[in-house]
């Protein structure tokens, strides 16, 4: 009897702790995520993957500005039901796409912020200082990019109020992020503050980063190019002009030739790529990609209104072949491997920014020259140099932006930042006239956010 009790007691003691062991096999405690240069490198790379999410660059972010503007509409006869409310201008705050994109933008900001903060706590050996700076710089650049895209979608443009005092997106307390004990319920910041955050992040990024070789990663030139775009939206024409010029002059990037232009869209990157979102055939979200949406689901097409502005000799027109009665969008043409990279920043945009900024500053000749580079590159006919000035020049630049940057997620924002009234075309019914300034050209704050965040509950965008 005694020996059994003894045995029982021994076994109880021996076997207690083992069964309660915890284990992570594919994750790591946030406080231990960044301990050295390797883990910093990992976390940096991981943040990019969030940009590649379909809720951001791989689909939604490059789709919203097209189907909500005059560039694209959804197949009215046979669609998968995706994004219909964007096409119809019937968005509500409980739209799942609105929600997932809101979340994804926030998530990039959180991840980059935690990485920046945690990396600054680690004392790295001096031999890797340059790498550390580069990685941290990339995080600043991605955060700046995320804030800007976030702002573009959910808030009115910078010039909506004279001092940009209108509501922007929330800015978290970066120090408190990544800790379940500090849940933040944030009110929206002013647009001015958001843009201040963006420019600070990008300046810091430029300061920390070097010139890189992998266009799938941010480098100093990419951050400068992004900053040029941000200044353009801020109507800070001088800075926009100078930043764009700096990239054109010093980045070592070259414009694609007309001959190489079409084929470049099937390539991972090309000579003018400043920053691209990398997609690999081994990535998991390819069926949710923008290319799959345009060419396999064939859910959306280019409007005639868009295609008609392209002359027949314009090489770019070939990106929009007509099949049956619709114009396909072939900027993301890898239908078999479904791993199109998404061009985020390319040199062509810098020329157009430079042109626009010059024009706004009444530096007409510089503006015309920058514009003509893009116009002439595209057309197989010899196009005479631009002679327009003033508003006509600006209009021409905007049209060229529409031609060059179509389906890359620009159009709606070009219309709204200039307060242009436009037609939202539909495939089989009359166009919807979107009168500027419209409440509906920006997305609602998701109902889920409104419901859980008392500080944002009264800050819904008007009209939703």
């Amino acid at each position: 009897m005694k020996k059994y009790i003894l045995l029982l007691a021994v076994m109880t003691i021996l076997s207690c702790e083992d069964t309660l062991e915890q284990r992570f096999s594919d994750s790591v405690d946030a406080r231990e995520a960044i301990t050295d240069i390797n883990s910093l490198k990992l976390a940096t790379n991981g943040a990019y993957a969030l940009l590649a999410n379909p809720a951001h660059y791989n689909r939604s972010f490059v789709l919203f500005p097209e189907i909500m503007s005059d560039n694209a509409f959804i197949d009215a006869f046979d669609n998968t039901g995706r994004y219909l409310d964007f096409d119809n201008y019937t968005l509500t705050a409980n739209n799942v796409r609105v929600n997932e994109t809101w979340n994804m933008m926030s998530r990039i900001i959180t991840t980059t912020s935690i990485v920046i903060r945690e990396a600054n706590k680690v004392s790295f050996p001096e031999t890797v200082t340059e790498d550390v700076d580069q990685y941290i710089g990339e995080m600043y650049a991605l955060r700046g990019l995320a804030f800007h895209n976030f702002q573009l979608l959910y808030a009115q443009p910078y010039n909506f109020t004279t001092d940009a005092s209108h509501l922007g997106v929330p800015i978290p307390d970066f120090e408190l992020l990544g800790n379940g004990a500090n849940i933040q319920e944030l009110a929206r910041s002013t647009t001015a503050n958001v843009y201040k955050q963006i420019t600070n992040d990008l300046l810091e990024a430029i300061n920390l980063m070097r010139v890189g070789t992998n266009p799938a990663k941010m480098d100093r030139n990419a951050a400068k190019a992004l900053l040029a775009r941000v200044y353009l939206h801020m109507q800070n024409w001088k800075e926009a002009r100078d930043m764009a010029a700096a990239v054109i002059d010093n980045s070592g990037k070259k414009l694609l030739t007309r001959e190489a232009y079409l084929a470049s869209w099937a390539e991972d990157s090309n000579v003018e790529t400043l920053f691209t979102i990398s997609n690999k055939e081994t990535d998991s979200t390819r069926k949710s990609s923008i290319g799959y949406f345009y060419l396999t689901y064939r859910d959306a097409f280019a409007t005639d209104n868009f295609k008609d502005i392209l002359s027949d000799t314009d090489i770019r027109k070939e990106l929009y072949p007509t099949k049956d009665v619709v114009n396909l969008v072939k900027k993301f043409p890898r239908t078999v491997t479904k791993d199109d990279n998404i061009q985020v920043l390319r040199l062509s945009e810098m020329y157009l920014i430079k042109a626009e900024a010059h024009a706004q500053l009444n530096e007409t000749v510089d503006a015309q020259q920058a514009l003509d580079v893009i116009i002439q590159r595209a057309d197989s006919n010899t196009i005479p140099p631009s002679t327009e000035t003033g508003q006509a020049l600006l209009d021409k630049i905007l049209v060229e932006r529409r031609k060059e940057l179509a389906y890359e997620g620009f159009r709606l924002f070009d219309l709204t930042r200039y307060g242009i009234t436009f037609n939202k075309f539909k495939q089989d019914t009359a166009p919807i006239s979107i009168v500027a300034p419209s409440n509906k050209t920006i997305l609602p704050i998701p109902i889920k956010e409104i419901n859980v965040n008392p500080n944002i509950a009264n800050q819904q965008n008007p009209g939703y």
Partner: protein, 1031 residues
């Protein structure tokens, strides 16, 4: 001369009852005495001058006077009972009745014969001087004679202070349900079972006494001591191998399971061998399943859709006459000449068949049970099926009187062919309701047409896609018990569950999810879990006091290893994931969790009248942080068998009257996030880490505080018996993934918190009446009725009480956990056919602009009551048995209705077919009063997929004829010639009829515990023939 005396004795011994010949001494010559001692050691020895000469038994009296006792056993209705166990009490001698109910056993006068048979009262007979004992066994209708299995042992129901109920075995065995859980539906009060899908083998939702957790309200299953909350383990069992099932409902019964006891416990014991003649049983069933959806809910055909679309085009003002409108549609792809019945193309009458064979037998010391089963059921959707093979071996052996050993090993292989569900393009049910009838699945040349539904052609997919889920499972266990003394015994148990679950998908290129180059996917889950338990039991019966207690410790651990592999670019026609194809996913993931526990349980009864029980358990769970790992749980129960009191003796009609009550605290430990985590991802071909989730280190288990009071009764010689229970259980520290603002960076935007408390209260009534009882193979009629209610209420939600609002639901204090929260639909404006919604909950103002309508509380999914009614009629060998089941009063919401009731907004989308309700009830002209708006081509006022509202909330009340059986037990005489001891043929139907209260509801209302219809395979009705034989 001396031999004469001896002879006389023998004769006397045979003639008279044993008692009278104790210590009889026969004086003989030469001072030799023959002494017969019959007190304990039955012996016969010879004394000489009081000196015992033969120390060794001269002759064992047992041997000397043992007789063959023969007899015949029948039931009250006169039918013979084969397979009745006949045992000599306190011995290892046993026998079974044969096919005629006859038995033969060697026993001595004075021995006690025990006759027992499942479902009948056990009878003990002292052998007197007769060699023939014929008996009529009474059916065991007195529930208090039942034994409840607790997983830690057994307990007489008579002595139970808790609420527990047994599932009658015949409810399980003769029913062709792929899983055991379904057999609980409607048979046990307080157990709510709702199927989510008609996919054969899909585990239904099982809830005991309501939903007690946001995260995991599954009951705990205990199979021969092994504990799991994984319903799939139960689904893999062969119902024919089950010996007993007890459902433990209140704290007194479940607190011994501590941190896993909160949501009830279902205890299952599998069959064992029996000593005696080897018995071979075989049963088979064969039939088919068909859809329960009434034909009238079939989606529209082409002419109906055409009528609707033309009306839509006219209503939209696009064209002004029918001809032009049709041309308009034809121009846009409508084809009036094709009429495809997607319903017929996607559904089938599924074949159902089952074979089972079992062999049981054994010697005095060693017994075995061996079985094999084959189950095959096709779903009513093409290319869905479950095929399962089971085998089980159980052996028990007695080393000595004190040491017993048993071992079980069971192997299951099940292969399910599945089709995707819910909103997936490849979902055939979605295709039935959504794809336009004027689209053909074939091109003119006979090849498959892929030009619609984003290349998902359900006919091609049924034919060419492979989606196969296979599970290979071994459940094994061994137990050892050692009886130390009369009071003390030790028990040791080790159990393991090993499963390899394999999901294989192979999609050809060019259509559907196969994408351009074809795709193959292999997802595996290798699971190993074990349980190790040691117990000390103490039991003592002294005079009127009886105490049973046990204590021990238990360790459990579960490990999973998942591996996922996806490749693309596989040549069509090759099934396997070919080498050299493009791998796109290759990953593994591991998971583990464990429990360690010590516990103590005691039950005391005085005179079988005053009962008391208590239990305490300390659990450690790996799911919480170090500071919150351990919890203590307990229960206390009291019972009073009033009928056993002497003052009740005069009240003759009361056979049983027992009041029992219990209170206790147990727990629940759902898996939620404790840690802030970075997780692995990939970018640009390299691995990365991203911030995945915020965790809460302070979370702890949920506490369930349960009170139960119940009454067991039996009146009029048990003609009426049953029980009534009332319970209240309050679950506090409820864990929930609480939504948080997106800025915190958690992808799901949630954090786990012990946010609040909820309460379930309910009444359970169970009554069985034997309406007609006649002996001699006459008419018998028995009715069982069970009824239960459960009211769920959220009592507290975090410190602020702020509701948790989702797109269609709300969790808020004072409301049910499954509360729908949607804009309230106000019907249709009769003047113009526009949809109207109430602006707010005051319901005073309506609007035709959906956006102006606020979400309001619509109601909840929890039924007001559940009830099951079973009637059994028998006449001679013919038995008719049927069961009705109802879940009455809960709402169901169809989130996909916004697509099928598009009011024309989907125009000519290939998935733009319209529900029959829209067609039949649409507003057509001013003055029409209806709930379906006008059909307008390109409608924007109503019918958009985002216009969720109470329009698509239905009354989910239904009454279902769940089972009907007509069986015939073949007369003994006729089957005897075939060498059979028992033969029964029957015809049986499941779900033959369903009454749906809400006319608007076009789908089966059984929608899981959440009350959401999710385009899943509908519940089927099954009709089949069966045959049971025993050799």
């Amino acid at each position: 001369m001396k031999y004469y005396s001896f002879l006389i004795f023998i004769i006397t011994y045979k003639l008279f009852p044993f008692d009278i010949c104790n210590n009889i001494t026969f004086k003989t010559e030469k001072n030799l005495d023959v002494v017969i001692n019959t007190n304990k050691k039955k012996s016969l020895y010879i004394k000489s001058n009081n000196k015992r000469l033969s120390k060794e038994l001269f002759l064992s009296l047992d041997n000397l006077v043992q007789n063959s006792i023969r007899g015949n056993i029948k039931s009250e209705d006169g039918s013979v009972l084969p397979g009745v166990t006949v045992l000599v009490k306190n011995s290892n001698i046993g026998s079974l009745t044969d096919f005629d109910g006859n038995y033969e056993i060697k026993a001595s006068q004075g021995d006690v014969l025990v006759f027992s048979y499942v479902g009948f009262e056990t009878k003990e007979i002292i052998i007197s001087n007769t060699t023939t004992i014929n008996l009529v066994l009474k059916e065991d209708i007195n529930t208090l004679e039942e034994v409840i299995i607790t997983g830690y042992g057994t307990q007489k129901k008579e002595r139970l202070t808790g609420a527990a109920q047994n599932l009658k075995l015949k409810v399980i065995t003769a029913v062709p349900r792929a899983d055991l859980q379904e057999s609980l539906q409607g048979n046990i009060a307080g157990v709510q079972v709702a199927s989510n899908s008609g996919q054969p083998g899909a585990s239904p939702d099982v809830r005991i006494r309501g939903i007690g957790s946001f995260e995991s309200a599954f009951p705990l299953y205990v199979i021969d001591g092994f504990q799991t909350t994984d319903g799939k383990v139960i689904t893999s069992l062969n119902p024919n191998d089950i010996k007993a099932i007890s459902v433990l409902k209140d704290a007194s019964a479940t607190s011994i399971y501590g941190v896993r006891g909160a949501n009830g416990v279902i205890v299952i014991e599998t069959k064992s061998g029996v000593s005696g003649k080897t018995q071979i049983s075989y049963s088979t069933q064969s039939g088919f399943s068909s859809s329960t959806i009434a034909k009238r809910f079939k989606p529209l055909n082409t002419s109906e859709l055409q009528e609707l679309l033309i009306e839509g085009v006219l209503n939209a003002g696009i064209e002004n006459n029918n001809k032009n409108a049709l041309n308009y549609l034809v121009d846009r792809g409508f084809n009036p000449n094709i009429n495809t019945d997607w319903y017929d193309l996607n559904t089938q009458n599924g074949i159902y068949q089952q074979h089972n064979i079992s062999i049981k037998g054994g010697s005095d010391k060693t017994r075995f049970y061996l079985s094999g089963g084959y189950f095959n059921q096709e779903g009513i959707i093409k290319n869905t099926q479950l095929e399962r093979m089971n085998t089980r071996l159980k052996i028990d052996h007695e080393f000595t009187d004190k040491i017993k050993f048993d071992a079980t090993i069971a192997y299951t292989k099940s292969i399910a062919k599945v089709r995707p569900g819910a909103g997936k393009f490849a979902n055939p049910v979605r295709a039935i309701y959504r794809i336009r009838p004027d689209i053909s699945p074939f091109n003119k040349d006979g090849t498959f047409n892929f030009s619609f539904n984003s290349t998902h052609n359900p006919v091609a997919q049924a034919k060419e896609e492979i989606r196969k889920n296979s599970t290979y499972r071994i459940l094994a266990g061994a137990g050892l018990s050692y009886k130390l003394t009369e009071q003390f015994s030790l028990e040791s148990l080790i159990n393991m569950n090993q499963a390899f679950q394999d999901e294989f998908t192979r999609l050809p290129s060019g259509f559907g999810d196969g994408m351009p180059t074809g795709r193959g996917e292999q997802d595996s889950d290798f699971l190993f879990s074990w349980l190790f338990r040691n117990l000390v039991r103490y039991s003592i019966d002294k005079k009127k006091s009886s105490l049973n207690a046990f204590g021990g410790y238990e360790l459990q651990k579960t490990r999973n290893k998942f591996s996922d592999l996806t490749v693309e670019n596989i040549p069509d026609g090759l099934e396997d994931l070919a080498n050299g194809s493009t791998p796109t996913v290759a990953k593994t993931k591991k998971k583990q969790n464990g429990l360690n526990s010590i516990f103590l349980n005691a039950e005391y009864s005085y005179d079988n009248t005053y009962l008391m029980s208590a239990s305490i358990r300390r659990d450690g769970s790996s799911k919480f942080s170090d500071s919150n790992k351990y919890g203590i749980f307990w229960s206390f129960g009291l019972g009073w068998n009033i009928a056993n009191e002497s003052f009740m003796n005069s009240i003759g009609f009361i056979n049983t009257l027992k009041i029992r009550s219990s209170y206790g605290i147990n727990g629940n430990d759902p898996e939620t996030g404790v840690f802030d985590l970075f997780k692995v991802n990939t970018y640009d071909g390299d691995p990365g880490l991203f911030f995945e989730s915020v965790g809460n280190p302070n979370i702890k288990w949920e506490l369930n505080k349960a009170f139960n009071i119940g009454l067991d009764y039996a009146f009029f010689t048990n003609r009426i018996h049953g029980s009534i229970d009332w319970y209240i259980r309050k679950t506090t520290d409820l864990l929930r993934e609480k939504p948080i603002p997106a800025a915190n960076g958690d992808g799901g935007n949630t954090i786990a918190e012990n946010i609040g408390s909820m309460q379930n209260t309910g009444i359970e009534i169970n009554i069985t009446t034997r309406n007609v009882v006649s002996s001699k193979r006459g008419v018998n009629w028995t009715t069982n009725f069970n009824f239960s209610t459960n009211k769920n209420e959220i009592k507290k939600l975090n410190s602020t009480g702020k509701p948790i609002i989702r797109a269609t639901s709300i969790i808020t204090e004072g409301e049910d956990i499954r509360t729908f929260y949607l804009p309230k639909y106000a019907g249709v404006d009769p003047t113009n056919g526009k949809a109207l919604w109430y602006i707010d909950d005051s319901r005073t103002q309506v609007t035709s602009n959906y956006k102006e309508a606020k979400q309001v509380i619509i109601g909840n999914a929890t039924p007001d009551f559940y009830a099951g009614l079973r009637n059994t009629f028998s006449y001679r060998g013919v038995t008719l048995d049927f069961q009705f089941y109802t879940a009455w009063g809960g709402l169901v919401y169809d989130p996909w209705s916004t697509f099928t009731n598009s009011d024309g907004s989907r125009k000519l989308s290939s998935t733009g077919n319209v529900s029959r309700g829209t067609y039949e009830r649409r507003w057509q002209k001013p003055g029409d009063v209806t709930d379906v708006p006008a059909f307008i081509y390109g409608n924007r006022q109503s019918g958009s997929s985002s216009q969720r509202s109470s329009r698509f909330v239905y009354d989910g009340s239904y009454i279902r004829l769940r089972e009907v059986t007509l069986s015939y037990d073949l007369p003994t005489v006729s089957i005897q010639k075939l060498g059979l001891s028992n033969a029964r043929v029957y015809i049986k139907g499941n779900n033959l009829y369903t009454y749906i209260k809400d006319d608007r509801l076009e789908k089966d209302p059984e929608a899981g515990s959440k009350g959401r219809l999710n385009q899943e395979i509908p519940i089927s009705s099954t009709l089949f023939l069966g045959l049971d034989i025993t050799f």
